[in-house]
């Protein structure tokens, strides 16, 4: 592994050259121990739920990740023939009627529907009911980038293309970015902190990080958290086409012949709970959330910076009191674009020094697509699977080694390995980075 030369490209601004100086190889950094922090609560995951192209629940999704199954197919929606990119990890068997009544369907955009179904699975697994006191100190924080984008798209079509002058009365409550978080709060009676985070592709990692911090600081007992995205519609994909970073054939993260990202859709929602509370009621603990850090590149609106990513990675380990050698697996941001994958590998190589050659890093976006604001939540399932089941989800679609991504990317086939601590990376457009650290329960 030679990190030299793996530097972020396209940096703009006069300070960029200084900040983006090539990384030099380092020994595994030893983080300065910090004094124990009193009063902080431990935070555990006691429920998980998802809806995505690999499955409409957690067991089906994890089975697909173990098999290395690809959820990317030909897109199917109105006007798809006018798109130059016609593939995506779309949920083709989505039937809202199977889960919601007529009135709910009128009120719920698809991103809200995905969130609610995932939240129901997570809460059912946790065994929690939010009556009385618990509801008052429990909340929900969800990430989404586009919110009710299908609702915007459909109603713009009605007024602009079809020339109608009247729209359905629920357009605003359907499309607003906080609709999903609000409906989840109503569904379960969560009366504490409730809000939505929108940081593009890092939205759900930021959301889960904030949920973690709220419980750790004693601000809440239980938080439902994760994120959702439903951007696979004509306007959603057309907008992405403009940037010319999408692949027309496949998502191949870290592979030398990668040619762009592939969008997905879906949601992931988790129950984060105060450890003492979970322990007292004998809950099944899926994993412990031990650290979180966020950083901003403050550099470029689309080109990532290795230094910004590295600061979030190192920050999460420091927050978790983890030494780099303890981390066995990283769920990568791994979008399959030329820029992200080499920058991310450079950041990991520099943050971990020699240990970078011993840890595993995979991008499950190769299977469930880039779920944008919901992606970190769907990807947290791969982290839980690694910690709980000892199965590392693979990077599928991997065809050719890239010297700029010379890490163990778990190519094409899942691997059995016991890992004690993992990280989950998310690096958003706008240079906003969010990394979570988890440990085996």
């Amino acid at each position: 592994m030679n990190p030299t030369g793996l530097k972020a490209e396209g940096a703009t601004g006069s300070d960029a050259a200084v900040d983006d100086a090539p990384a030099t190889p380092l020994a595994a950094p030893v983080l300065t121990p910090e004094p124990p922090r009193s009063g902080l609560r431990r935070v555990v995951v006691t429920g998980s739920g998802t809806v995505n192209a690999l499955g409409l629940n957690v067991p089906d999704t994890m089975a697909a990740m173990r098999e290395g199954r690809c959820g990317i197919t030909r897109l199917d929606f109105r006007d798809v023939e006018r798109l130059t990119v016609q593939i995506g990890a779309q949920i083709h068997d989505w039937e809202p009627e199977a889960h919601f009544n007529r009135q709910q369907i009128l009120l719920y955009d698809k991103f809200t529907q995905f969130s609610l179904l995932a939240a129901k699975e997570a809460v059912a697994q946790s065994g929690l009911a939010f009556h009385g006191e618990l509801g008052l100190c429990s909340g929900v924080v969800l990430g989404t980038a586009g919110g009710g984008l299908n609702t915007w798209d459909e109603n713009y079509r009605v007024v602009y293309e079809e020339g109608k002058n009247r729209v359905h009365p629920f357009v605003v409550p359907k499309l607003m970015n906080n609709a999903a978080a609000s409906h989840v709060s109503m569904e379960f009676g969560l009366r504490g902190p409730a809000f939505t985070v929108a940081t593009a592709c890092a939205s759900s990692n930021h959301a889960m990080g904030l949920a973690f911090q709220m419980i750790r600081s004693g601000g809440a007992k239980v938080m439902l958290t994760g994120g959702s995205e439903a951007m696979l519609c004509f306007g959603g994909v057309k907008a992405w086409e403009g940037l010319r970073v999408m692949s027309k054939d496949a998502c191949r993260p870290f592979s030398a012949n990668r040619n762009g990202m592939v969008q997905g859709e879906g949601a992931g929602v988790f129950v984060f709970e105060d450890y003492d509370h979970a322990r007292a009621r004998g809950a099944d603990i899926l994993a412990e959330v031990v650290g979180f850090a966020m950083s901003a590149d403050a550099q470029d609106i689309v080109m990532p910076s290795a230094q910004g990513a590295e600061r979030a990675i190192t920050g999460a380990m420091k927050d978790a009191r983890l030494n780099p050698e303890e981390v066995g697996y990283i769920n990568a941001h791994g979008t399959g674009t030329a820029a992200n994958d080499k920058t991310e590998c450079a950041a990991v190589a520099h943050a971990f020094g020699h240990h970078a050659d011993r840890l595993m890093i995979s991008s499950t976006k190769s299977m469930h697509g880039h779920v944008i604001g919901g992606t970190g939540a769907v990807e947290l399932l791969a982290c839980i699977m690694a910690l709980r089941d000892g199965v590392i989800a693979p990077t599928i679609g991997y065809e050719e080694p890239d010297p700029e991504c010379a890490l163990d990317v778990v190519p094409n086939t899942a691997r059995e390995a016991k890992v004690d601590a993992v990280l989950s990376n998310a690096f958003a457009f706008g240079g906003l980075n969010a990394v979570l650290a988890l440990k085996r329960a």
């Binding site: 396209g10 130059t84 403009g242 010319r244 692949s247 027309k248 990668r258 762009g260």
Partner: protein, 87 residues
């Protein structure tokens, strides 16, 4: 027509590079002109709009697209061909 097409392409590239068209030479690369990957995507969009053509360009593999963006000369030649094919 060809001279007109050529001049319009140069004008678009010059505007992106914030230079006078007379300063843009055929042997210059986008990097020579200070045009980064996002600037390249913008220029291609402007050229597509100006000539009503579709340019096959993927920012992930600029060297492998059928559309050669290595120099100003290669860009103008490729656009002139697309405009001619359009008829």
């Amino acid at each position: 027509m060809s001279k007109d097409v050529h001049d319009r392409i140069i004008a678009i590239i010059a505007e992106q590079a914030m230079l006078d068209p007379s300063e843009v030479r055929p042997d210059m690369s986008p990097a020579d002109l200070g045009i980064d990957s996002l600037g390249m995507v913008e220029s291609i969009f402007a050229i597509e709009e100006a000539f009503d053509i579709s340019i096959p360009f993927n920012a992930n593999e600029p060297d492998q697209s059928d559309f050669d963006v290595s120099t100003v000369g290669s860009i103008t030649a490729a656009v002139e061909k697309l405009v001619a094919d359009r008829g």
